[in-house]
């Protein structure tokens, strides 16, 4: 029944297009690359600077630090954002920064997004903490975007429900723009994509009341990025 509906639907499209049904079409190689001039010739250092500048314009501070400065840097975020509680990803990259120890030292009520824990409890808890902490897969220089491949211990709600959001990123993972990020997603299609991929650029915003800009209407209204220098 469903398959017949599908066939009718697609056959109708072919017929309206005035040709036989097509299947397995692949897009042509697009010759034009209008985005090239936006980053061609830029050094990686310049891309990093672009990333920081672009986020700065979106009310988002970026701390560029070496790994041994992480504890101090996180301490500052905790103070600036008045954080008392947090949820963070179950992620090796965060563990390698000894995140849970630093949180404990700062007397933060912290918990890990653990897929083995009770789901409903985690959701409720995440909805009530001050800050969500993740480690991003990519950063986009042109826009100041961070890219998250969610899944398992890397819960989607961590970057979404709390009113403040801290994203940690390695300098080496900064690429010029969306072009390189979608290429990486494209390459991963054959091995299967996670259920959700997020591209996040600064704090949640709206202009729906008289075009007056306001932050945090649904997603986090305050965002901070800690950028780890390559060592």
């Amino acid at each position: 029944m469903d398959l017949k509906k599908q066939e009718d639907f697609l056959n109708n499209i072919a017929s309206k297009l005035g040709r036989p049904r097509r299947s397995g079409v692949e897009p042509p190689k697009w010759e034009s690359k209008p985005y090239l001039h936006l980053y061609e010739g830029k050094s990686h250092e310049e891309l990093i600077e672009d990333f920081i500048t672009n986020l700065g314009q979106l009310n988002t501070k970026v701390d560029r630090i070496s790994r041994d400065q992480f504890a101090a840097s996180l301490g500052n975020v905790i103070q600036d954002f008045e954080v008392r509680s947090t949820v963070y990803w179950d992620d090796e990259a965060l563990d390698s920064l000894c995140l849970s120890d630093v949180l404990e030292k700062n007397q933060i009520d912290a918990f890990r997004w653990d897929p083995n824990e009770n789901e409903e409890e985690m959701k409720q808890r995440t909805a009530h903490v001050d800050l969500g902490i993740v480690f991003a897969d990519l950063g986009l220089a042109e826009t100041g975007t961070v890219v998250l491949f969610n899944g398992g211990g890397r819960g989607r709600l961590v970057s979404l429900l709390p009113p403040k959001f801290l994203c940690i990123l390695s300098e080496k993972d900064i690429v010029p723009r969306l072009t390189q990020a979608v290429q990486k997603v494209h390459e991963r299609v054959s091995e299967g994509l996670p259920a959700c991929i997020n591209f996040i650029t600064g704090p949640s915003r709206t202009g729906d009341i008289e075009m007056d800009l306001a932050f945090g209407v649904h997603g986090p209204g305050k965002v901070h990025v800690i950028l780890l220098k390559d060592e």
């Binding site: 897009p27 979608v182 650029t201 008289e210």
Partner: protein, 471 residues
Amino acid sequence: MSAHPLIFNERVDKALADPILKKALPLTQDRLRGGRINAAEQLGNVEEWRELASQIRSHTIANLDSYLEELVTNVRKNGGHVHFAATSDDAVEIITGIAKEKNAKSVVKSKSMVSEEVHINKHLEDMGIKVVESDLGEYIIQLANETPSHLIAPAIHKTREQVREMFSKVAGRQLSDETTELTAFAREKLRQEFLQADIGISGCNFAVAESGSVVLVSNEGNARLTTTVPKVHIAMMGMERIVPTWNELDMVVSMLTRSATGQKISVYVTGINSPRQSEDSDGPEEFHLVILDNGRSNILGTAYQEALNCIRCGACLNVCPVYRHIGGHAYGGVYSGPIGAVLTPLLGGYEEWLELPYASSLCGACSEACPVKIPLHDLLIEHRKDEVEMGLTPFSEKMAFKGFGFATSHPSVYETAVKLAHSGMGFLAKDGVISKGPGMLGGWTDVRDLPQPAKQSFREWWKKEGKGRNQ
């Protein structure tokens, strides 16, 4: 399409007499258009971007059967459910069916123009289900029991005072008219709705055929909540909203956000690739993709096929001198502005929408602004021609007269049109003229003299071309 109590001319008169619209429309247009122009200037080569985006959209539509087949094969492979809806009624049956099966008590929605097309809220509410719009603008107009008046900024016709009143009523306490307090209230109120909703219904900015993904573009984060918190996610997709691979997604997303608000990218671009996977402990357990035709296929293979290239950015609304004066509701359909004047008669038929192709000055600003190069004003002329050829001659002649009358009896529409059409400059310079044009900023009643057109006026054009088409 939507049932509207007033006829076209009455809707226009009502809009023109509305002091709130008179203030809100130029403000919104100028802000959004200014953003787009800045973004285009930053690119430096916006024509190349438009050309590639146009090629990608045209290629996709020309091979739509193949890409849709690839999409749904992948959605199923990823564990999602696919539903084809040939008509609005089919879509309603599918979605109310899912709601019944899930015994749903409440639904949260993020913005979806397709859901407006099929009036899904009303049908769900008739079943006793609570439906909550979560986009701030959509929430405002839902409380006001109205429909969106702009693709990107649906509640531009409501003032903060009106919002304050409505929100205070819901809150049961008096709120201030500070934007931060009003949005904080919406956050708190809508968050409760999200956490208890059984189903989330979203639109679909673009589906990606190669991976069976649905991509959502938003600034508030409500689309993320809608597609993450409830156990069931239904995405409603117009059948043309698809790209072949993630690589093509780059171009259309880049053009969409730059053209809509001038942002280089929206705050959130979210790729939903499957229901939650075995190792996940958040995200919906069920994913349904509803693919809607609802008249779109009748546009294929016609002179109007390029209208299906539309990526719903609203840029054509923001440059249109007619939209500037009458706003979105006067168009009467789900889609307003130039793209609405092209699409609505195609989706809803000439009988009901005969006048819409005349809600235009044919100045061509829309075609120049369109990021995927839809020749909007050519298509409006095509409509006028077709209306005549379809044997609607006597009536359409009357309409032709009305169309002419509309522009000339509203001088600032006429003036804006003349300015736009005859500036003789390119894409950016043309928009530059608008932003400097004092006639655009003043009320239309201030402007009574018709300007001297530089080359060829609308009147002259009408004598030569418009009249010719009616013979």
